[in-house]
Symmetry: C2
């Protein structure tokens, strides 16, 4: 003992409520899908008032650890990849990242994702990719909405097929960030649909042949092609995505 004291733990009560519940979720005491006690119940358990409990709940809510079910009751949900992707892409947007940063990441990550996909995608998943492509193919040429949806969905399915939640979340957040702007770009790139279909065909074939190098190569071309669309549409790549 040196006679000195540690600074005492001093945090607002609502923060302690937040952390206490978070802790119980992460250690499994509160299981996924279980529903939280009512606010009144929590007041009693923590010995604080409803206002305080509610502030803690707002923190949990925004973290995505609890979601409102029917009857407005909260129930526990461990965050899944898509939650993380949504939160991250929103933060990136608010943080003012630029198109060029997003594309840079896209061009770096997706070819490698394609390489992995060639090794890992199940036959069923590859068939699904073919189906996504077929749907796009049968859409009207002028249906830009369908073109965008088809392009993004294709990416999405590749990401899901990797069977890795970390990579899924990262790739999805990129998808979300380009999705919006892609709509704008594709509507003024005349032959976008054909080129996308072509890239998709080559990718699916590479996946089917389990040829990682080839898949990575085509994906790189695909991304470069999309990027060209932005140049054609005269999008300033140094501008923040919005």
């Amino acid at each position: 003992m040196d006679g000195s004291f540690e600074p005492i733990e001093r945090a607002p009560a609502y923060m302690k409520v937040f952390r206490a519940i978070e802790e119980k979720i992460s250690d499994g005491s509160l299981k996924d899908g279980a529903h939280l006690p009512t606010e009144g119940e929590l007041c009693a358990q923590f010995g604080v008032t409803r206002s305080t409990v509610r502030e803690g709940l707002r923190l949990l809510e925004q973290t995505g650890l609890i979601v409102r079910g029917a009857a407005k009751k909260f129930f526990i949900r461990r965050p899944v990849a898509s939650d993380i992707a949504a939160a991250a892409s929103k933060s990136f947007a608010l943080g003012g990242v630029t198109f060029s940063e997003v594309f840079d990441a896209l061009a770096t990550l997706y070819p490698e994702a394609a390489r992995l996909a060639a090794k890992r995608l199940s036959k069923a998943k590859i068939a699904e990719l073919r189906a996504v492509r077929a749907t796009l193919q049968s859409a009207a040429d002028k249906d830009h909405e369908a073109t965008v949806a088809g392009a993004v969905e294709f990416f999405q399915q590749i990401a899901k097929g990797l069977d890795n939640r970390v990579m899924l979340a990262m790739l999805q957040s990129l998808n979300l960030m380009i999705g919006e702007s892609l709509r704008h770009v594709i509507s003024r790139a005349p032959k976008a649909k054909d080129r996308i279909l072509n890239a998709q065909k080559n990718l699916v074939d590479a996946f089917g042949a389990r040829d990682g190098d080839l898949a990575a190569d085509w994906m790189a071309k695909h991304i470069a092609d999309l990027k060209r669309g932005y140049d054609v549409a005269k999008v300033d790549m140094d501008e923040a995505i919005l």
Copy 2:
């Protein structure tokens, strides 16, 4: 007019407060660094009570859009890469991702990051990497803490040198997720420090020579080596990171 009505916009007031402020931040009305009005002020402006305003503030707080400065006043801060990385890695942990998923992502992303780094890293940054390595080298062999810090810092500096906030956030979140466990692993891998130093030397040399392929290659080896450490330490890769 078909005589039917749209469902009216119905969201809790605290949510509207949150979105209103968020909107003002994203459109630039509230600039980075500005400080938020006091709670009383906000009550007056929104015409709601403090409890309601405070719930909205908790949402903003957790989103990372406002932070407490001195005097407990909130000020605006657009999220930066490290915020996003911290939030994401926490969510991943709560979501129960496994070591193998993290390593898988690490092995996929970092070699490509190294490839980019070889092209992009400024001379100053490369010098900094050498310095990081030198610090690690001069640390005591038994100082596991320093070894971990040196290994992670090296990754960190590469990520920063890419000059891309999206990739930075992604790489940082991976760093955060392995950081903890690495501490545990390195302390029981006898020659870890030497192997890390060796990998770092080869990487720095590759960066200096602007040789992307070589850099990617050494980075892949470096990651594989770290992974071996987990096997030696008998870490179950299918277990959730904690």
